[in-house]
Symmetry: C2
Subunit: 721 residues, 2 copies
Amino acid sequence: MPHIKKIFFRFIVLFFFVCCPLFAQKDYKLWLQYEKKTDSPIISDYLSNIKGIIALENTATSKIAQNELQIALNAMLGSQFQVTVKPEGNHKIILGSKLVLTPEIQKAIGSDFERINEEGYIIKSVSIKNNKHIVITGKKDIGVLYGVYSFLRLVQMNKSIKNLHLIDAPKTNIRILNHWDNLDRTVERGYAGFSLWNWQKLPDFIDPRYIDYARANASIGINGTVLTNVNANALILTPQYLEKVEALANVFRPYGIKVYLTARFSAPIEIGGLKTADPKDLDVMNWWKNKAKEIYKRIPDFGGFLVKANSEGQPGPQNYGRDHVDGANMLADAVAPFGGVIMWRAFVYSEHDANDRAKQAYAEFVPYDGKFRDNVIVQVKNGAIDFQPREPFHPIFGAMPKTPLMIEFQITQEYLGFSTHLVFLPKLFQEVLESDTFQKEKGTTVAKIIDGSLSNSKLTGIAGVSNIGNDVNWTGHPFAQANWYGFGRQAWNPDLDAEVIADEWLRCTFSNDEKFIKPVAAMMIKSREAVVNYMTPLGLHHIMDTGHHYGPGPWVSDLSRPEWNPVYYHKADKNGIGFDRSKTGTNATAQYAPEVEKLFDNLETCPENYLLWFHHVSWDYKLKNGQTLWNSLAFKYQEGVDQVKEMQDTWNKTGKYVDKERFKEVQMLLDIQYKEAKWWRDACLLYFQQYSGKELPVGVENASHSLDYFKSLKFPFAPGN
Amino acid sequence: MPHIKKIFFRFIVLFFFVCCPLFAQKDYKLWLQYEKKTDSPIISDYLSNIKGIIALENTATSKIAQNELQIALNAMLGSQFQVTVKPEGNHKIILGSKLVLTPEIQKAIGSDFERINEEGYIIKSVSIKNNKHIVITGKKDIGVLYGVYSFLRLVQMNKSIKNLHLIDAPKTNIRILNHWDNLDRTVERGYAGFSLWNWQKLPDFIDPRYIDYARANASIGINGTVLTNVNANALILTPQYLEKVEALANVFRPYGIKVYLTARFSAPIEIGGLKTADPKDLDVMNWWKNKAKEIYKRIPDFGGFLVKANSEGQPGPQNYGRDHVDGANMLADAVAPFGGVIMWRAFVYSEHDANDRAKQAYAEFVPYDGKFRDNVIVQVKNGAIDFQPREPFHPIFGAMPKTPLMIEFQITQEYLGFSTHLVFLPKLFQEVLESDTFQKEKGTTVAKIIDGSLSNSKLTGIAGVSNIGNDVNWTGHPFAQANWYGFGRQAWNPDLDAEVIADEWLRCTFSNDEKFIKPVAAMMIKSREAVVNYMTPLGLHHIMDTGHHYGPGPWVSDLSRPEWNPVYYHKADKNGIGFDRSKTGTNATAQYAPEVEKLFDNLETCPENYLLWFHHVSWDYKLKNGQTLWNSLAFKYQEGVDQVKEMQDTWNKTGKYVDKERFKEVQMLLDIQYKEAKWWRDACLLYFQQYSGKELPVGVENASHSLDYFKSLKFPFAPGN
């Protein structure tokens, strides 16, 4: 066995160096590979339609747009396109925002401008004085930049650029990454190395990665970034750090990206020398007002603050007998004169509250509806617990119609296998966004609440907890790049289908070959259900191992707070398994609109994928497949394992479409995922079997180790913890 | 001012995106750029001498050699060289170690094999049956690999490959990087991001960087790597981690690199369950023997252990009333059956020892001379304090003739500006290696002690504390790559001149253009003296700020241990400045051979660059330049600043020879270095002025801030601390 292993490793080494161009770093280039095309007819077709670039504008953002277009087209089409400034010639790509367009072009665009907002773009094939051009425009230069990336995506995907008439605009205002990055460059729940922000070398050293980060974000429409962890450090608000933040803001600005920071609620004490951080204290209010002024002097377009208050040990207004409204509004008043926004997190639960943790955020926040300032937006996690492989949508969505709500997704895979497991998250995001809250009427999806269309909210947003670190490949797993990409695309358009995203991303990142795209896109789509199956099928949740949340830990019961323990969530006993949140239990179902409540509350109608989320179910209960709950649970775990096996089989056939380095990386990672899917299956089934007292059904493989073995596994330096 | 700043930043941004090819990552490729050559006569000349590659051997190492040669030549010469196995044709490069060479080739190589050791190589132009070939050979396949890199360097540098007859072999056995990497991936004194070793994903995920790391090391002859910090964690010796170490060893093996670990002396207690770690305890001895067995079963060519014992809080034999010999020999006995080596550090000093810290290592270790096992090598820092910008050579060198000694350099710039300052360290290393200890006779240089030529030592070595991290560019500063490169080259040949190294590195990394090489090589050579001048001129040392050691802190006097405080080292008072280590003081000079002692002990003969290291000197003392010490000190600080200004001027003229990304990176870093050189000058002169009571001489710029300002600066999250 060690011998075989040695041969295997030797093979790996040989494989790499024999097959790979040295130092290939396609990994770093994300979805902006701009590979030289090899199909002559396709190249000819593009070349006949693109003879050059006309740049009508000269702002920093416009220059980025021109440069990106030029470099990308040169690379993909193997040509040398010139950028000129006069609107003349034929078959040119004309770049410019509305005000700089010539009257002829303006006329050709016509009323399209009425259909976009300030960040939207129009790509239109026009004919002017018998000359054909493609105009990429928007109301502002940032729209032009977004249009350029959209246009380039067409070329990346080998799509036709004839008779173009694309009109697109983001459906949300704030499309933002939340970096949980600490000032020592560790990243809470980060699995792709460490923080990109090299505070020691800032402000004077601008790492080229900052620019590539901005490019990547702009290319998918992300327009905001919270640089620091929600578990905040007040030092970021000192001049020493603000100077560094300013430097980053200056880099990101022309890419349309605003910088935000997390505000530690006790900062007035910690760095301000005050005795209190009471939001009703005049000195505190003034301290924040002056702090805001100081920040905006440096960064006139500073986005605002993200705040985690009175949650998991963070200080907040409740420390002073005030409530979340008092805290949020005080900060809102400080940034309001400068156009700033407060993103106030609703992720709160208390160890002193005996209530079902899933109910606490709703219980606390819904009464505040309508009480927040206009520039406060409440940031609500997609589900009521904590970024699980599957959760029903958070009951707050739709329940606070007078309050702007933004959704918080977790792109980093805290509970989904870190950066080792291939899980395509847009499928998860889509499931949540499509969920019907029934809060106003049928069809009141989470997406409609988020994009403001339901309540005509002017302040809308989608946040994603970043999965980006300083690994060469940015996200630790080549396919985790798809989650960054997909998040951005869905933040722009919450109705976008995950399958469309997978298709786009694969084409831009790897290959346009249908023989590659079809199976691999299917693999991506399936991957989310696979992780649910091998980790937490049928509505199970939060049974990951302690603290680091890597691997199974359904047995964990010794943590200081009850609601941190997996046993709190699965409640397995000899009678069955699951958390009774129905009327007979905690009645969390009552937090949903009546239609949804009814659906979830009834064991018979509750969707089986949420079954154990809402019900404690007997081991012998028969599911729709006619099998007992125990058997079904076992089959689900096995199915998850089998699905990963299929993913391996799929990927192993893609060698000829993918560069060897990424091919091998994904292959190694899928091997780990398969091994760990089995670990999950074995550990969970052995553990639950203690309560069910039943044999595994035929078709489910026996565990390779004992339960004690699985319980003995320790991960002392698991990342992100 | 803020406005100007904004424009500046906008400029930076524009600069990057307008001028740079997107996602350029030359930074990552180190000195193995293999740029396509553009000079046709040069290409033609090479092409007429290289028609293909003949590979006579099929080991993993041989395959790497073939592949590297093929890919590099293809890239540089724009051709497609074939690798064949039969020794036929004309103008081929023939690869193979001694035993696989055909009789004709063996004959052509002749007695050259007698002139190399097991790692050496021969590159020879031969004529066989009227066909001309270039043979790259060695006694073993690793020699062939080293030969390939040497040959490629010729091509990288546009050198002739006609009539080649190169015979080269390393002068030391152990050429090793010491990574001070912790298991949580922080790196003690690391300034290039975090640890390369992704323990969480090992053993199953082999990051392509591991392979590139091995390539880079093999290309300069480094043949060992200590994966873990000398401030050790015993967990690395548990099966969970050894499995991961094994995976890395498997990757590195074909590149000729052995893996070593740091051994925490108390490991038998911490992970072995024993009650003691007493090296004379039978259970402890057996525990280590079994541990060694366990490791060697996984890694048959495991290098051995590096140990920091009874130093700065690390456990060691003295905890049990034993001495360093007891501890080292016990471990040596454990690894001896497997050919392992113990590298035992002599970096010891005690807070309970009132003696001059500089004297303690010598005092403790010299009496042990001849008492260590054959497979123990004592690792001695280049100077008696701690990797300062300049230190006299360590008095242990030459004083332990019966003990193998290896030198420990610090490649990472703990006391030399982190990865922000451009300092070419081979110049420092050379100064130490060339130092004459006079221990046996005149000409007994440190290099001769290290390479074993003095005492016919069979065990020799050079260690460098790694400056490598997971930054895309590996070392944080593009020019810090030169220190990794130079260390490797000097470890191979301790007599190699720093100017040769600078020339090689610049050509392989940037350009062969003489207009670039000449000024930039001169800048590199000068950079070491510059940092001495603006940080610690005239023998000053250890006056860096607390803990993190970044920036000046001559005023620091409140640390728990006296010998951690800068005031302990400079001893400035109204009478003068400097540490009296002469007979009138601590008599540390007596630790050197009489000739050296005499030189250093006498204020008049002591080299001025060590003046304040050995003497407490009056402010009015006249130096050889006729100026007072105070004036000379001030001039030195000013000179350092001026030198950095010159470095900036030099670099600013190189724009046309260097890719824009690296050009700009170095430019930004030099700007920081200039700013910080002034900071050093101002802070130190203001501080020392309190004692000298004298005005700055004409020509030395006044400080831009007050001493209080400089004292107030804090760096809460300085890296590597």
